[in-house]
Amino acid sequence: MSNFEGDYNKYEYWLAGMFSLSGRKKIYLKTMFGDAKTLYRAKAEVLERIPVLNAREKEKVQASQSRTEEELQKSLEYCVQNGILLTSWQDKSYPERLENIYNPPYGLFYRGNLPEWQKPSVGIVGARNCTYYGKTVAEQIGERLAAAGIVVVSGMAAGIDGAAQRGALRSGGSTCSVLGCGVDICYPPGNRKLYGQLIEAGCVLSEYPPHTRPLAMNFPQRNRIISGLSDTLLVVEAKEKSGSLITADFALEQGKDVYAVPGRIFDLSSQGTNLLIRQGAGIFLNMEDFLKEMHIFRKTEEDSSQKQKISLENLERLVYSCLDLTPRSLEELLVETGLGLGVLVETLATLREMGYISEVYKNYYIRTGIF
C-alpha cells in the first residue's frame, strides 16, 4: 500500500488512466519528464515542443491537465476505497513480459494479488458460446496448469475464458484476468461469482481506469495484454471468425508460442482452432505433452493417467465406453447400449457417484476425467 502515500501517486493514476494516448507515448512522456507530476504541471509551450505528439494528442493531454488536483485526489480515493491498485511502467511489480511488446500499457489497474511474474504463464482463450467439450477441456487444462504452478491468464469472458479460470481457482493456483473495462466493473455480469473469487484468490487487471464501460473497441486491445502476459497462448475453441484468433495474431506478433486444442472437423466451434493448427500452431494433445513442450518437467506421479485407475464392472464399463466429452443424451445411450432404462439409469448414477461422469445438461452426460 506504500504507493498510496504522497502526491506522487495521484499523478501516476492520472497518467495511467488518460485516454486517447497510447501506452507507448505515455511511456515516452514519462521518460522525458521524469515523473507524472512534472508532466501534469507542464506548460503548454513545453508540450508544444514534444515531437512525438501530434496536434490532437497535445490537445488531449492539455484537456487532461485541466483536471484539478482535487479531482485527481478524488479518483485516487475511489481507488483506495475499492482496493484498486496500480502497477505502472518501471514499477517493480510491472510485468517484465509486457516491457518488450509493441505498445505496452503504461500502467495496469488491478484488484486482488498480482501473480508472481517470474513463474511461467499460459493464456487460455476461446469462444464465449462454447460447447461442453470446450468448457470441460478448458476447465481441466486450467486446473492442471495452475496445479503445476503455471499462471493462467485469461479474459474472464463467458465460455472458455471463465471455465479455464474456474478450473485454475479450483486447484488453488494463481490466475489473472485481463478485462476490457474498468476493474471495478464485472463484465459479463453473469460471471459475478467468478469475479469475486478472482479478487479473493487471483487478480483482475485492466489497462483502463475505473468506471470504464466494457466498450467493444477495448477488447481487441485487451487481447494484446493477455497474449503479452503469457509465455504460451492456448486457444481452446474458436469459430472461423473469432476474437480468440485476434489474440493468437497478437501472440505471434509478440513471438509467443500458440497452441490450439483440436476438435472434430464438423464442429463449428472448432473450425478456428483447427485452422490454427493447419497454419502451424502447436497441437494440444495431453497435459504431459504440453508441459514438456513448455519445458516443465514434474516428477510427481499423481498424474499417472486416471484411466488406468478406473476399474469398472462390466455394465459400468459398457456405459462408460459410450461416453466422451461430447454430451450424449439418455435416449442415445439407451439405443447405443441396448440396456433397459432402469438399468441404464442406475448404472449412470453409480458412475456419477464414483465421479467418472457428470450430467452437464438435462439428461446429457459426459466423462469427467480426461487427462
Binding site: 453473469g190 464442429d267 466451434s269 454430451p327 457417484e353 445438461y361
Partner: protein, 515 residues
C-alpha cells in the same frame, strides 16, 4: 292476482334458488320489475311482452309488478325470461297456479315465444334437487344436461304455448314425463377419432416412460427440447392414457362446462378426462377465469384432466404466475365485488418449452444463442413455477431410422391399463384419506407413505447435497419415486427408483449456467 314461480341463478359453479313473484292488478297499465336486476334481466320485460303477444295470448292492459327474491343477490343472466313469463300468465289466471308448484323453470325466450338454450342448467338442476324439487322445466336443447342429475323429472320447453300445454299434461298425467336413468352411465368412454396415440410416437423411450409416470401419479411434467421433437404429440397422447373419470368427477366437470356454456363439448364422452391446450396469447382472465361474475378459465376447464401449455416461455408472466396457487390448492378462488367464487382446478400440468430461443441448445453447431440470451430465455419462467414441476424430461430429435423402422410401438390402451393398475394401488394405500394420487401426498405424511430402502435413502441424501435440491425438490423426488415403485408393484422405494426419479428432477439454473 298473485303468483309465485321458482327459478335459479348461477354463482360460480353453485346455484342459488330465486323466487319470481308476479302481481297483476287494476290501475294505470305498467310493467315494473324490482329485485336488484342487472340490465339483461331488465331487458326481459320487452322480450316477454312480445313473446306473449306473438304466442297468440292477449292480455288486457293492467298493472304488472314483478319481484325477484332474495333481494340481496344481484340477478344476472337470461334464465329469468321463462319463469317471469309464466308468473305473469299465472297471475292473469291463464295458467293455474298449482301447475307451477314444485317446478323449477329456467330459460330464455325469444320474441316469437320460443324457449332458447342457456348456460348453467346443470348446477341449477342440482340446486333444485337439493331444495327438494323433483321437476324442472328447461329449454329442450339443455335437456341432456339436466338428465345427468338422478331422480329428476324433466319437462323440455320448446315454446311458450307448448310449455303451457305440457304443464297441463304433466299435471294430469305426471307418469308420462318421469324419466329415470343416469345419463353419465349410459355413455361409454370413446377415444376421439384422429386423436393422438402413443403407438404413433416412435422411439423416445425416456419421454414415454416419463409420460406414464406422470399419468400414474398425476405429476406435473415439463418437456424440454428442440422444435419438432414430438413434445406436443406426446402431450396429446398423455390424455389418452388417463383412466376414465368417476361419476362424481364427471359431474363436477360437467358443471364447469355447463356454466361456461360449453356443455356440448362434454356430451358423448363424459368420462373422458378433459385436455385443454390454450394458445400462449391467452389472457389472465382466460386462464384463471374472469368477468364481474367470473366464468371459469382454462385452469378449471382442465379440472381432473390435463392442462397443456405449449411454448411455456411465450406465455405472459402473470398468466403463468396465476397457476401457482391453484397448483397447490387444487382450486381457484376469485374475489370480486359481488362475492368470492370458487372453481375447481385440480389439474395435471404438462408444459413444453425450447431450451433456448432458437431451440437447439446444447447443440452448438446449430444454436448460436449467447449465454445471456439463454439466461433471458429461461428467466421468462419463474423458479417457483419450475419448482412445481415434478418431472422434467429432455426430448431429443429422434433419429431417422427410428421414424422409419416399422417397429410396432406400444399403444395407448396398453399403457392405460398399467396406469389404471398403478392408480388402483395408490387408491388402496390411501384408503380412508383424502389423498388419491402420490403427487398429492402432503409433506407430513411423506415419511409414512414413502418408505425407502437403506441404499435408496443414502443415494437421495447424497444427491440432496450434491444437486443442491430444495426442500420442495426433495419431496418431489420422493413422490415421483413412490409412483415408480408403485408401477413396479414394490412396497418399498429402492435405489433404482430413486435413481430414476432423480433423472426427472426439475431443471435448475445450473443446467443452463456454466458455473
Amino acid at each position: 292476482m298473485y303468483s309465485l314461480v321458482s327459478t335459479a341463478i348461477v354463482c360460480g359453479i353453485r346455484s342459488i334458488l330465486i323466487q319470481v313473484e308476479a302481481d297483476v292488478c287494476d290501475g294505470m297499465p305498467a310493467f315494473e320489475m324490482v329485485g336488484v336486476l342487472s340490465s339483461e334481466v331488465k331487458e326481459a320485460k320487452e322480450r316477454i311482452r312480445a313473446a306473449i303477444r306473438n304466442s297468440g295470448i292477449r292480455l288486457s292492459p293492467k298493472r304488472i309488478t314483478i319481484n325477484l327474491y332474495p333481494a340481496d343477490i344481484r340477478k344476472s343472466g337470461t334464465v329469468f325470461d321463462l319463469p317471469i313469463a309464466l308468473a305473469i300468465l299465472s297471475a292473469y289466471g291463464r295458467v293455474p297456479r298449482e301447475y307451477l308448484e314444485g317446478i323449477l323453470f329456467a330459460g330464455e325466450i325469444s320474441l316469437n315465444g320460443q324457449v332458447r338454450p342457456t348456460t348453467g342448467i346443470l348446477p341449477m338442476v342440482l340446486a333444485a334437487r337439493e331444495a327438494g324439487k323433483r321437476v324442472v322445466c328447461v329449454p329442450k336443447e339443455n335437456m341432456r344436461e339436466a338428465q345427468i342429475v338422478k331422480g329428476i323429472t324433466i319437462l323440455p320447453g320448446e315454446d311458450l304455448n307448448q310449455v303451457i300445454e305440457m304443464l297441463d299434461t304433466f299435471f294430469r298425467k305426471p307418469q308420462k314425463y318421469i324419466s329415470e336413468g343416469n345419463y353419465i352411465e349410459e355413455t361409454v368412454q370413446q377415444t376421439q377419432e384422429g386423436s393422438c396415440d402413443f403407438a404413433f410416437i416412435h422411439g423416445q423411450k425416456v419421454l414415454k416412460r416419463a409420460c406414464e409416470i406422470a399419468a400414474s401419479g398425476r405429476h406435473n411434467m415439463l418437456m424440454l427440447g428442440s422444435p419438432g421433437a414430438g413434445k406436443t404429440m406426446a402431450a396429446r397422447a398423455v390424455s389418452t392414457i388417463l383412466p376414465p373419470l368417476t361419476d362424481e368427477e364427471a359431474l363436477e366437470i360437467a358443471k364447469v362446462y355447463s356454466v361456461t356454456g360449453m356443455f356440448g363439448q362434454r356430451e358423448g364422452n363424459f368420462r373422458k378426462r378433459p385436455y385443454r391446450s390454450p394458445h400462449h396469447t391467452i389472457s389472465l382472465a382466460g386462464m384463471a377465469g374472469g368477468g364481474t361474475v367470473p366464468k371459469p378459465g382454462e385452469i378449471s376447464l382442465a379440472h381432473k384432466g390435463v392442462l397443456f401449455l405449449d411454448e411455456l416461455t411465450e406465455f405472459k408472466r402473470p398468466v403463468l404466475e396465476v397457476l401457482r396457487q391453484p397448483l397447490e390448492e387444487r382450486e381457484i378462488r376469485l374475489v370480486r365485488g359481488s362475492g368470492t367464487y370458487f372453481y375447481p382446478a385440480d389439474i395435471m400440468l404438462v408444459a413444453a418449452m425450447n431450451p433456448c430461443s432458437c431451440g437447439y441448445f446444447p447443440d452448438r453447431n446449430r444454436c448460436t444463442c449467447s449465454q445471456a440470451m439463454i439466461d433471458r430465455h429461461l428467466n421468462k419462467i419463474s423458479r417457483p413455477l419450475l419448482d412445481r414441476m415434478d418431472l422434467c424430461v429432455e426430448v431429443g430429435r429422434p433419429a431417422l431410422w427410428e421414424l422409419t423402422a416399422n417397429q410396432p410401438e406400444e399403444a395407448s390402451s396398453a399403457i392405460r391399463h398399467r396406469v389404471e393398475r398403478t392408480q388402483r394401488i395408490q387408491r388402496e394405500r390411501f384408503e380412508g384419506t383424502k389423498i388419491l394420487y402420490n403427487s398429492r401426498i402432503p409433506v407430513p405424511a411423506i415419511e409414512k407413505w414413502c418408505v425407502m430402502e437403506k441404499e435408496g435413502e443414502r443415494l437421495l441424501h447424497d444427491s440432496f447435497e450434491r444437486m443442491e435440491l430444495t426442500a420442495r425438490g426433495y419431496y418431489r423426488v420422493l413422490r415421483v419415486a413412490r409412483t415408480i415403485a408403485d408401477m413396479e408393484g414394490e412396497e418399498k422405494i429402492s435405489r433404482a427408483h430413486i435413481c430414476e426419479s432423480l433423472l426427472y428432477r426439475s431443471i435448475d439454473r445450473k443446467v443452463w449456467d456454466f458455473e
